[in-house]
């Protein structure tokens, strides 16, 4: 948000004050409009709160030591192996996707002439990639990584599939972070005789780091919550992979674990507890991401708008 926007929204707020409830009683149509907007907002937040509270109350009683046993058995239904698999997959998928995504964003923002044809193609395909549903990624992963490359249901196949899933997310958030870096810093760097590379790596990227981090964290959340794209690429074996060939072991991630528990319908308690753990992870990731996004705005010298 620019300063001008900020000012105009403040002016708007001041104008608003004058037309408060008193006027509303004279205009029933306006009253209905306002009430319906209130209702929608309350409904939205209400649904979320209901979901959270429901999960917390049903989940907490089932958070017991069994659930956090090191090894999974059909008795203890431990979520630890699935949790660790999720973390491993997240780490590897990020290692694959972040360099590519950040590099792509650097090209799109710092190098390209914004009107060139190739940029339009890249933007279009990145947008397409972002819109593809998980299940289609799952199908593709199953066709390409699992069968065509012969990796079988494996950590590797799941990881590569997820790397593609999060790629557009990383690209977009990095792009936004780079755009938020003021041109004045780029100019200052060029004016000192620095080349493009040095300007990008020493000035622009460091300033954009919080925004890039925010995007990476969102991507992490996506991996943690993903099930359709990993079920038929990574498999569903609730064990921590080990040994030399661990990349080729089939694994079960936490979200898939929750799906299995709930679709069997036999262990509602454990399903709630697992869901609770998932939600807490997402909540933490979300908060972190918002924190870094705010840091970016502050760092890039922008006022904290109403977000």
């Amino acid at each position: 948000m620019t300063v001008a926007d900020h000012k105009s929204s403040r002016r708007e707020l001041a104008l608003r004050k004058r037309h408060e409830w008193r006027t509303l009683l004279k205009h029933p149509a306006s009253l209905i409009m306002r009430l319906s907007a209130y209702f929608a907002a309350i409904l939205t937040v209400g649904v979320l709160l209901y979901l959270l509270v429901h999960n917390i109350f049903r989940g907490i009683p089932h958070l017991n030591a069994d659930l956090f046993a090191w090894k999974y058995t059909s008795d203890n239904l431990s979520l630890v192996p699935a949790l660790i698999n999720t973390l491993i997959m997240t780490a590897f998928a990020l290692i694959l996707a972040v360099p590519i995504g950040v590099g792509a964003a650097i090209y799109l923002v710092e190098y390209s002439q914004q009107t060139s044809k190739i940029i339009r193609v890249i933007r279009l395909t990145t947008e397409t990639l972002a819109g593809i549903p998980s299940i289609v990624y799952g199908l593709f992963g199953s066709l390409f990584f699992v069968r065509f490359l012969g990796w079988g249901l494996s950590l590797l196949a799941g990881t590569c599939t997820m790397a593609i899933v999060i790629l557009p997310l990383v690209i977009r958030s990095t792009e936004e972070a780079l755009i938020a870096v003021p041109d004045a810093w780029r100019e200052a760097s060029y004016a000192l005789g620095a080349g493009k590379l040095r300007t990008v790596f020493k000035v622009v990227l460091p300033a954009a780091i919080p925004g890039i981090l925010a995007g990476i964290i969102l991507a992490t959340g996506r991996i943690v919550g993903e099930s359709a794209a990993v079920m038929y690429t990574a498999g569903s074996v609730p064990e921590i992979p080990g040994g030399q060939n661990f990349l080729h072991d089939p694994v079960r991630t936490l979200a898939v674990h929750m799906y299995v528990l709930s679709s069997e319908g036999l262990h509602p308690g454990s399903a709630y507890a697992t869901g609770l753990v998932l939600m807490v992870m997402v909540l933490i990731l979300n908060t972190l991401s918002r924190y870094f996004a705010k840091r970016l705005r502050v760092k890039a010298g922008q006022k904290d708008a109403n977000e």
Partner: protein, 284 residues
């Protein structure tokens, strides 16, 4: 990389040698140098279809302060940015004519723009220190040009901060973020940062327009002091400022240089009626 480093030290050494032998440096009260730094000939500049500079011819003297004045949008910044080819960054910008620096055409394809910008430093209207420490801001340029030695950097940082009359204010907070400095300090830091690559020329685009009167006068003093070592070209909207500090002044109007001569005569008896109208405040 190593190749680069040796070259840079050579250049730096050369600079220092020049500083010590050049008469202009030793004798601050020396008369205006006759040497010409920039020769601008028949310069036309276009942003897309819009012609922002029309047939500009100008000589800029070494070790003098040259100011550009004129109403907003008349092309002062544009010409300034031609001198270190910052306009290269603007896609729609096209230039005809020639600019040479000490006889060498800077517009050619065989020119290394980064080297040119090292020799022709620039300070912007809004202070734009990097979001790094004070030290790293100043050291950014030298590091860019291959100086890695800690001791050398320390010396350099201290000496340019002294040159920019900022050392006493920041010597205890070299490691603190430059963004925490006041606006005036930030602008002097930007000047120090530009000096740290030991340029020949310093371009200043309305360096005081965002500052309070005290900071402004500090920067004016600083610029006058720097004149002995550097060739200075400055854009200003402040007529008193031009009179106070500059040796030569060029008046711009709608992309043309209406007249350019030594500052005293330009303000005392402008040759062109439009100049007179502008400096007496009748338009602009």
């Amino acid at each position: 990389m190593t190749n680069n480093e040796i070259t840079m030290e050579e250049i730096l050494g050369h600079d220092v040698a020049r500083d010590l032998t050049d008469d202009a440096v030793l004798d601050i009260a020396a008369p205006l140098s006759d040497k010409i730094a920039f020769e601008i000939r028949d310069l036309d500049l276009f942003y897309g279809d819009f012609q922002a500079l029309k047939n500009v011819n100008m000589d800029i003297r070494q070790n003098a302060i040259t100011t550009f004045i004129g109403p907003s949008g008349c092309g002062k910044s544009t010409l300034l940015r031609c001198l270190n080819r910052m306009n290269d960054l603007i896609e729609s910008c096209r230039i005809e004519g020639s600019i040479s620096l000490y006889g060498e055409n800077i517009g050619g394809n065989n020119i290394d723009v980064n080297m040119l910008r090292k020799r022709v430093g620039m300070v912007f209207q809004k202070p734009n220190p990097f979001p790094m420490s004070v030290y790293d801001n100043v050291a950014y340029g030298p590091r860019t040009h291959g100086i890695r030695s800690r001791a050398k950097l320390d010396d350099l940082v201290e000496s340019v901060l002294r040159e920019a009359v900022l050392w006493d204010e920041v010597k205890d907070s070299l490691r603190k973020s430059a963004l925490a400095l006041s606006g005036g300090q930030q602008q002097r830091l930007c000047i120090a940062r530009a000096l740290a690559v030991r340029p020949d020329v310093l371009l200043l685009d309305e360096p005081t327009s965002a500052l309070d009167p005290i900071s402004t006068s500090k920067i004016e003093d600083l610029v006058m002091r720097l004149k002995s070592t550097y060739t200075i070209v400055m854009v200003t909207h402040n007529m008193q400022q031009a009179v106070r500090i500059s040796d030569e002044t060029a008046f711009f109007l709608l992309g043309e240089v209406i007249e350019m001569t030594d500052t005293k005569s330009l303000f005392a008896m402008p040759a062109d009626r439009r100049t007179e109208a502008y400096i007496t405040g009748r338009f602009g």
